[in-house]
């Protein structure tokens, strides 16, 4: 434990406890933040990081404990009070008005509406000064809708700084950034610290934590399990603190590539709102390979997943299966073609929360024998199948008749995994398969994907976690604005080179210089 000098304490959390029903999301968490330091709040998804920050910022009310900012107790449940006290928060999901300029977004809410426009030039001067001081390159007169994700994040940070924030909370800021943009963000954080600000940086990426923070606070299952000077610990120790157990590296053997099971031949799909569709994409999914799709989120991954999963058909180009181009492309056709799908959102798309495990297990298979004969469901057969999945895939649950909403994310994912893998599919579409899972479940999912590959299946792994992609994939494609890079073999590109592709450089027909 480290002791912080009393006079330097800018923020103090005292035994914060928050319960959601039976779940204790935060269990008597206390720590101090000193002036000019970066604390990394480390923990797996679901460890209680975001809940804690939401309490600090007044979005939630703690059941017990209190928050002090500069020695003053914050009234619970009032974001406004937190703002006035100098706490600025940058959420995972941005809160910007797309149709307004950067300047308007920053000033919005700080001045009464009828005075908008008055202090415009003064506001611009202040913003430009902040841009200069903190290295937050962004044009105050650009419309937010036209900005990249990285630029929008800078606007959010500017917004907080403009409101004289002395404490910055960044909630998983790097999840949406390329490696290069992450470096820029870290430079900004260092400048902020130099200006005497304090930063709480939430992450579960160890190399980022060691790169930027001066202290780490580790949460696990809602409890503060460790607090240490970053210099005193190495990544390995941090990982152990975070998961409470040794992290086994995925053992990956060389793969023997098989025949092409699914091929995209110049496929384009329509854009959906801000999310781009595919732009004449070429890709081959071979049996016995894990094909990794790297890319910053929102660059067309959803379109690719929907295309292969049967939810959308190509607008132009062709999707070719092992036995030809399908005449009709829909989820049932994809299932019939032996494509197993692990959807990105297991709560909204993968399962039906108020159905029990049995009803969820047969969601994709219900229409065929043995589960359904002449329009009648055979719930006995469905229960047997579910029982088999529960046992083989280690789904921890009170029983097959439990509503699936009561299961943890990991167990929900194991049920989905079992449901799709029990059919011995030729192709496995794994879209963010380990998002939000604890290390045990994560390792298990990876093992199953590797096993499916070794059995001869083609596994398309879509993930925002570059480490996951490089560790598992035999072949890597990078996606950017709907364009697919050529296939790269294992180890062919460095992380930095992948980052260049992720940032949108190197693609054919590119207009701006790399």
């Amino acid at each position: 434990m480290t002791k912080t000098d009393e006079a330097q304490v800018v923020l103090r959390l005292s035994s914060i406890t928050k319960r959601f029903g039976k779940l204790t999301a935060n269990d008597a968490i206390s720590f101090d933040l000193a002036k000019g330091e970066v604390i990394a709040l480390l923990g797996e998804n679901g460890a209680g990081k975001t809940t804690l920050m939401n309490i600090l910022f007044g979005h939630y009310t703690a059941d017990e404990g209190e928050v002090e900012v500069f020695g003053q107790r914050l009234p619970p449940g009032q974001p406004k009070a937190a703002l006035q006290a100098g706490v600025g928060m940058v959420h995972q999901h941005f809160t910007l008005a797309d149709n307004m300029t950067v300047l308007e977004n920053i000033v919005l809410g700080t001045e009464p509406l009828w005075r908008m426009g008055f202090g415009r030039s003064a506001a611009r001067r202040r913003i430009l000064a902040l841009v200069e001081d903190y290295g937050l390159r962004v044009d105050p007169d650009a419309t937010v809708g036209s900005l990249t994700v990285g630029e929008r994040q800078r606007v959010e940070i500017l917004k907080a700084l403009y409101r004289d924030a002395r404490i910055l909370i960044l909630d998983e800021p790097t999840a949406v950034l390329t490696p290069q943009e992450t470096e820029d963000l870290f430079a900004t954080m260092r400048k902020a610290v130099a200006h005497g600000l304090s930063v709480i940086f939430i992450s579960h990426k160890l190399h980022e934590v060691t790169a930027i923070s001066s202290r780490v606070v580790v949460l696990r299952h809602g409890k503060l399990v460790a607090e240490a000077r970053t210099a005193d610990v190495d990544r390995h120790q941090l990982a152990q603190m975070m998961v409470g157990a040794e992290v086994p590296p995925p053992a990956v053997r060389e793969a023997a590539p098989g025949e092409v099971l699914v091929a995209l031949e110049g496929v384009s799909t329509p854009d959906r709102g801000a999310a781009p569709g595919l732009k004449s994409a070429n890709m081959a999914l071979r049996g016995g390979q894990i094909i990794g799709l790297a890319g910053v989120s929102g660059n067309g991954q959803a379109a690719l997943a929907d295309l292969i999963g049967g939810l959308i058909a190509p607008a132009s180009g062709r999707l070719r299966l092992k036995d030809g181009v399908p005449s009709d492309w829909n989820p049932r056709a994809a299932l019939a073609a032996g494509i197993a799908r692990i959807p990105e959102d297991r709560h909204k798309t993968g399962t039906i929360a108020d159905f029990d495990l049995t009803e969820n297990a047969v969601l994709e298979l219900y229409a065929k024998p043995p589960f359904s004969r002449r329009g009648w469901m055979d719930w006995g057969a469905a229960r047997d199948f579910t029982q088999k999945v529960i046992e083989r895939y280690d789904v921890r649950c009170p029983g097959a008749e439990t509503r699936i909403r009561l299961l943890s994310g990991g167990n929900m994912q194991k049920l989905i995994l079992g449901r799709v893998l029990e059919t011995a599919p030729d192709v496995v579409l794994a879209n963010q398969p380990v998002r939000g899972l604890d290390i045990g479940a994560l390792t298990y999912v990876h093992e199953q994907l590797l096993a499916a590959r070794d059995r001869g299946a083609a596994v398309l792994l879509i993930s925002e976690d570059l480490d996951e992609i490089t560790a598992l994939s035999d072949v890597i494609h990078v996606i950017s604005e709907g364009r697919l890079s050529p296939a790269f073999g294992r180890g062919e590109l460095t992380t930095a080179e992948l980052g260049v592709w992720m940032a949108g450089h190197g693609f054919e027909g590119e207009t701006h210089a790399a």
Partner: protein, 349 residues
């Protein structure tokens, strides 16, 4: 104040709160009776007595519950798949019209052939009435709440036109009323000597059939999946639009049976006031039953009991029968509140 979701509602919440809602309804109704100048408990006693206190009263309640079971089932089936059918009233009237068209001598068949034919024809007609809005919804995204609701008025005016014209009873002394059904087209009484027709039996059977469909058949599974999470259903390969169309056929058919049962079982002819809003009350019945088909029977008996009981209570205690409407409205509001509170808890900040 704000709402927080309850992760795993206890039995006390799921059973206790709806019970509390009914209790609250009774207390509120008692207060209203007091304001109207009557003894609250005697008013409630009179309602219960008026609804179930004698053989005659009980049979009257069962008769009144019959169309409510059909419309309640129609709504429950549709709402379960998140198809918002507010048009049970229209489907009921269309079913009644078909019954009159086929049952007044157009088909001179024996009862065992004629009655099933009319019932099936009425169901088909009711199904078509709901099919149009459902098709507009699945094809063009037109909100079915608006279309089904407005169709009620269209159909009612159409029936009014028929009763003044094509279906007008030539012997009816100018009243807007259809000719009477032939004897073979009348639903017989369930027990000789008791004023209760087979429409009630058909309603009970329908409730059971719907329950079996929802629990045991592939279609029922699809309907529940579509209702609970359309996105997941579509992802899993369930043909969402086809399921909605099938749901509409079932729902519209059930509502039409209410019209068939009222004309062939109770009234014997069609007038414009054959339904005092059974289609709308069916929504209340379905909600009170939490969309459970067997619960619909219980809820329909409860609602019918309040209406029948309030009639006789009004005569005895001098309290307006509107108390029945208020009680129903209260029961519905309280039940909706109770359902919400089983899923959320209120926190004060």
């Amino acid at each position: 104040m704000r709402l927080e979701p309850v992760a795993n509602p206890t039995l006390l919440r799921t059973v206790g709160l709806p019970a509390l809602a009914l209790f609250g309804t009774v207390v509120a109704a008692s207060l209203l009776a007091m304001i109207a100048g009557a003894q609250p408990f005697s008013v409630l006693g009179l309602i219960v007595k008026g609804a179930f206190g004698s053989k005659f009263a009980a049979l009257e309640t069962l008769n009144r519950a019959t169309p409510l079971i059909f419309t309640g089932l129609a709504v429950a089936v549709a709402f379960r798949a998140q198809l918002w059918n507010i048009g049970a009233e229209a489907q009921l009237y269309v079913g009644a019209v078909v019954t009159v068209v086929l049952g007044t001598g157009a088909l001179a068949w024996p009862a065992f052939a004629l009655l099933p034919t009319i019932a099936v024809a009425a169901m088909l007609a009711g199904a078509v009435v709901l099919l149009v809005p459902t098709f507009l919804k699945t094809r063009f995204g037109v909100d079915e709440v608006v279309t089904t609701l407005l169709l009620n008025f269209v159909v009612l005016l159409w029936v009014s036109m028929l009763l003044e014209g094509a279906l007008k009873d030539p012997m009816g002394l100018g009243w807007p009323k259809s000719a009477r059904l032939i004897a073979e087209a009348r639903l017989p009484r369930m027990v000789e000597g008791l004023r209760l027709h087979w429409g009630f039996g058909l309603a009970l059977i329908s409730a059971l059939v719907v329950w079996v469909i929802q629990r045991r058949t592939t279609l029922g599974y699809e309907m529940r999946a579509v209702g609970l999470n359309k996105e997941a259903a579509r992802f899993a390969g369930i043909p969402v639009n086809t399921v909605l169309i099938k749901t509409a056929l079932l729902s519209g058919g059930l509502a039409a049976l209410a019209g068939f049962s009222e004309v062939a079982g109770l009234k014997g002819s069609l007038t414009l006031d054959i339904s005092p809003g059974f289609g709308y009350t069916g929504i209340i019945v379905a909600m009170l039953a939490l969309l459970n088909p067997l619960g619909v029977v219980v809820a329909a008996l409860f609602v019918a009991g309040i209406f029948v009981g309030a009639d006789s209570m009004s005569r005895a205690a001098g309290v307006p029968t509107y108390l029945a409407d208020i009680m129903l409205a209260l029961a519905l509001l309280m039940m909706v509140l109770a359902i919400m509170l089983t899923k959320f808890r209120v926190r004060r900040d």
